[in-house]
């Protein structure tokens, strides 16, 4: 499998590898995996409560080069975006940017799923915070 230069660049120099405090109420964590290839991807966002903008994004992926590159690229794109803008990121954007071949499209799908899962987790946390405030009254 010949990887594109952009995939190789992200694979050799992954951006934003690491983790954020998953118990932080402003951090959303998405954990996704593909059973047939065993890939597992954790992607986290930290949202600025004042601006609603994603200040920081981290990932850790165990999988093939394309899966690592897809999630690395996703974290780059997420930073500076609002949550709604982030939801607009499509797996096809990742496919185009990294020139992924058809057999690796599922890696980009995984990355999109991870973004959505992280945002969902963040929103649930915010909702939970609101309800706990309501309950306190």
């Amino acid at each position: 499998m010949a990887y594109s230069n952009k995939v190789l660049d992200h694979y050799n120099h992954p951006r934003n590898v690491g983790s954020l405090d998953k118990n932080d109420s402003h951090v959303g964590t998405g954990m996704v995996g593909a059973p047939e290839c065993g890939d597992v991807m954790k992607l986290q966002i930290k949202v600025n409560p004042e601006t609603g903008v994603i200040d920081d994004a981290k990932f850790k992926t165990f999988g093939c080069g394309s899966a690592i590159a897809s999630s690395s690229l996703a974290t780059e794109w997420l930073k500076g975006k609002t949550v709604d803008e982030a939801l607009a990121i499509k797996n096809t954007d990742i496919v185009n940017e990294l020139a992924l071949p058809p057999v690796k499209i599922h890696c980009s799908v995984l990355a999109e799923d991870a973004i959505k899962a992280a945002i969902n987790d963040y929103k649930v946390k915010q909702g939970a915070d609101v309800s706990s405030l309501v309950q306190a009254h």
């Binding site: 954990m31 996704v32 995996g33 047939e36 597992v40």
Partner: protein, 180 residues
Amino acid sequence: MNSLPSDYYSVFGIAPTLALDLPELQRQFYVLSKQFHPDRFARASAPEQQYALDFTSLLNDAWRVLRDPVSRAEYLLKQQGLEPGDSRTNPPPPELLEEVFELNMALEELRAGDGDARGPIAEALDRFLAMRDQLDRDREALFVRYDAQRDAATLGDLRALLNRRRYIENLVRDAQQALS
């Protein structure tokens, strides 16, 4: 000259069921192996010799696939036109992904020379083995259900179970390799 059986079950002359009597299958395998052993066709015509050879080869394939319950189920699913599902239709549950992620972290630490990672890997291995045992018990129940009902819904459940099992099996292998 007969044509060769068209599938593994017809090689043994049995109905395509999932719960098989393994000792009986093995007995039949020996009977047929003897019956079609190429040595017995040394003085037969060339087409007969060829048939014995082809049948023996097919018999060996059939025995190898049907004797193992997992490969037998995969074979029957394929015969029924069900290929393994993709991740979109059958994603692993989040709590399992968490386990998988932690296992991968420990494997990475071990590769980096941190011997302390062996403990968590061994614990994860135990949990994955227990999951596999449970899936095998569930599989036996699905075998019985399918043989009784022959319905598409049970086949779908079986496919989902086998996908999950394959996933667990890979984790077991990774953990065992790391610990060996």
